[in-house]
């Protein structure tokens, strides 16, 4: 536990030691603003809620989260610090979890800085704030899912660019797995049961119900299982590289 915390602290502080954190946060806030007010027609809808704000989160995360995750392990491998890290007396799982939590906490900070949205909508009208809280929880969980995928992919390669591109593609598949784009690929040959399972992986479907204020245990379980699975794969990847 202490080890996880030590790694977490180092990583989290590390984000703010370089311009990366500030650039990321500024871009994230700028884009959420643009999407909400222009593409999401926040004002024209004349409704006191944050649906137009949350609607675009999956798309923003598709590109921004892999950008946070790509450096998690690739950079360590590239600079050789992975050798330092993995010869310290800690388990691979502790290192993976510590780094992951730091990245997740960082994306939580970025998300928390969108609070002016909440103030605005409360000033303009009388929204259901429990729905907004649910939306934030859902958004954070989805970010966590994307991050876990990105972290695992980043452990596979020295190159941050490759890590980024591959992560975006995999996240994209998870995002759209409920849509014909992905399902048609399987429908031809896979049995219906498998197609249904794949369809149930869709981040969109799970995020959709949460952001409408329905906190269903199944959606929670989906995201936590997904995160656990990818982090486990992350540990396995790093262990496998030891033996190669």
């Amino acid at each position: 536990m202490n080890n996880i915390f030590a790694i977490f602290k180092r990583e989290f502080v590390g984000y703010f030691a370089t311009p990366v954190a500030y650039v990321f946060i500024v871009i994230f806030l700028f884009l959420t603003g643009v999407f909400t007010f222009y593409l999401g027609s926040f004002f024209e809808r004349n409704q006191a809620d944050l649906q137009p704000f949350f609607n675009f989160h999956p798309w923003l995360y598709l590109f921004l989260i892999p950008a946070i995750a790509m450096r998690l392990w690739s950079e360590e491998r590239k600079s050789g610090t992975i050798e330092l890290l993995m010869t310290l007396p800690l388990s691979t799982a502790q290192a993976v979890i510590g780094k992951y939590l730091a990245a997740w906490a960082f994306s939580a900070v970025a998300l928390a800085l969108t609070f002016p949205m909440v103030l605005t909508v409360n000033y303009l009208g009388d929204p259901d704030n429990t729905v907004i809280v649910a939306g934030y929880i859902g958004s954070l969980l989805m970010a966590g899912g994307f991050l876990a995928i990105g972290s695992c992919i980043s452990a596979l390669t020295k190159s941050q660019v490759i890590a980024f591109v591959v992560s975006v593609v995999i996240c994209f598949l998870f995002l759209l797995s409920g849509f014909p784009l992905v399902l048609d690929f399987f429908k031809g040959w896979a049995p219906q049961a498998i197609v249904d399972v794949i369809a149930s992986f869709s981040f969109f479907t799970h995020f959709d119900s949460i952001k409408k204020g329905v906190i269903d245990a199944r959606d929670m379980i989906f995201f936590t299982t997904l995160i656990a699975f990818w982090l486990y794969a992350n540990v396995v990847t790093i262990e496998a590289k030891k033996a190669s």
Binding site: A17, E83, S91
Partner: protein, 327 residues
């Protein structure tokens, strides 16, 4: 004597490359083992396996009685490790980096600052503690890497090229430091610099193409040289020819070479048959013939030559180079 590191029948393959091939050795407390070998010989790979960063393809490693595969955390706790190239987190300051390592190393909070100050003093990092590591020179980066390895006062130190990139003064300091710590630790260092083996190591292991080719003391290593106990003498041109014939006539002399001629000085090198000692006989010959000898010296055998002989057995380059240097 306690054996702190036991490596037996270690193998590592990377695809078709057999990087480490049946390597076995032990290191006792109090020993400083110098790992020598050409680039790509398998030195770093062996070190990476001892520290648990790479998994061996075959063989076992025990560190202070713990198997590296079965109890990696126990092993890692006892080792201080400077990886090849001294990697560290560039965006951190020296102080915060050392704090991070001390924390993960489990140095109790109450002792952490004292330990860090101690190590900073020892390695002379005072002037850069608040600088970020990426702004440091190569020499300082290396020293931060060494500092990091000493924080928890480990029983076992594994240093991959600890003096690479340091200036001669810094090299000297690091060697002194290693000697100071040697008494109650088992230390492995890898190096290309042969004088370093002479200066700090109590034992030398030469490894090339993944195999151990030599394991012994630096003195034994020198004795392996053709030039061990060879004698160089400088005489004037008039006596040179007579001296050459006379020395060639001695029983234990294998050959005499004229290695340099310069003005009124001729340098002769008498090489003994392996393991023989010829200086006494040569001294008597000189005395008997009453030659005017300007210089007389016994060679102890150069480590460079032995190194070349051992790692490239079919090359004669070692000898040619020796001649050039003696000139």
């Amino acid at each position: 004597m306690t054996t702190l590191i036991e490596v037996s029948e270690l193998h590592k393959r990377f695809g078709i490359l057999h990087a480490v091939n049946n390597v076995s050795f032990n290191v006792q407390r109090g020993e400083v083992l110098g790992f020598l070998g050409p680039n790509g010989a398998g030195k770093s790979t062996t070190m990476k396996m001892i520290t648990g960063f790479l998994e061996p393809t075959g063989g076992t490693i025990r560190v202070a009685g713990h198997d590296v595969q079965d109890e990696p955390i126990q092993v890692k706790r006892r080792i201080g490790y400077l990886p090849e190239g001294a990697p560290s987190y560039g965006e951190m300051t020296v102080q915060s980096f050392l704090e991070f390592v001390a924390e993960v190393r489990g140095v109790p909070r109450s002792q952490r600052q004292d330990r860090i100050r101690d190590v900073i003093d020892k390695i002379h990092l005072e002037s850069v503690v608040e600088q970020t590591i990426e702004t440091l020179s190569k020499g300082y980066k290396r020293r931060v890497g060494i500092a990091q390895a000493l924080l928890h006062d480990p029983e076992i130190l594994i240093l991959d090229e600890p003096t690479d990139g340091l200036d001669p003064n810094q090299k000297h300091e690091v060697r002194l430091l290693i000697q100071e710590m040697a008494a109650d630790k088992a230390i492995i260092i890898s190096t290309h610099i042969l004088e370093e083996v002479d200066a700090v190591c109590s034992r030398a292991v030469i490894i090339a193409a993944g195999r151990i080719l030599f394991d012994g003391t630096p003195t034994e290593l020198q004795a392996r040289s053709d030039m061990h106990n060879a004698v160089t003498l400088i005489v004037d041109p008039a006596t040179a020819a007579a001296a050459e014939t006379a020395l060639n006539g001695l029983d234990d002399v294998e050959r005499v070479e004229r290695i340099a001629e310069q003005g009124d000085q001729v340098t002769l090198l008498a090489v003994p048959h392996a393991g023989r000692e010829i200086i006494t006989a040569i001294g008597e010959t000189i005395h008997r013939n009453n030659w005017a000898v300007q210089s007389l010296r016994v060679e102890s055998g150069r480590l460079d030559d032995v190194f070349r002989q051992i790692t490239m057995p079919h090359s004669t380059e070692g000898q040619r180079e020796f001649s050039n240097r003696a000139a």
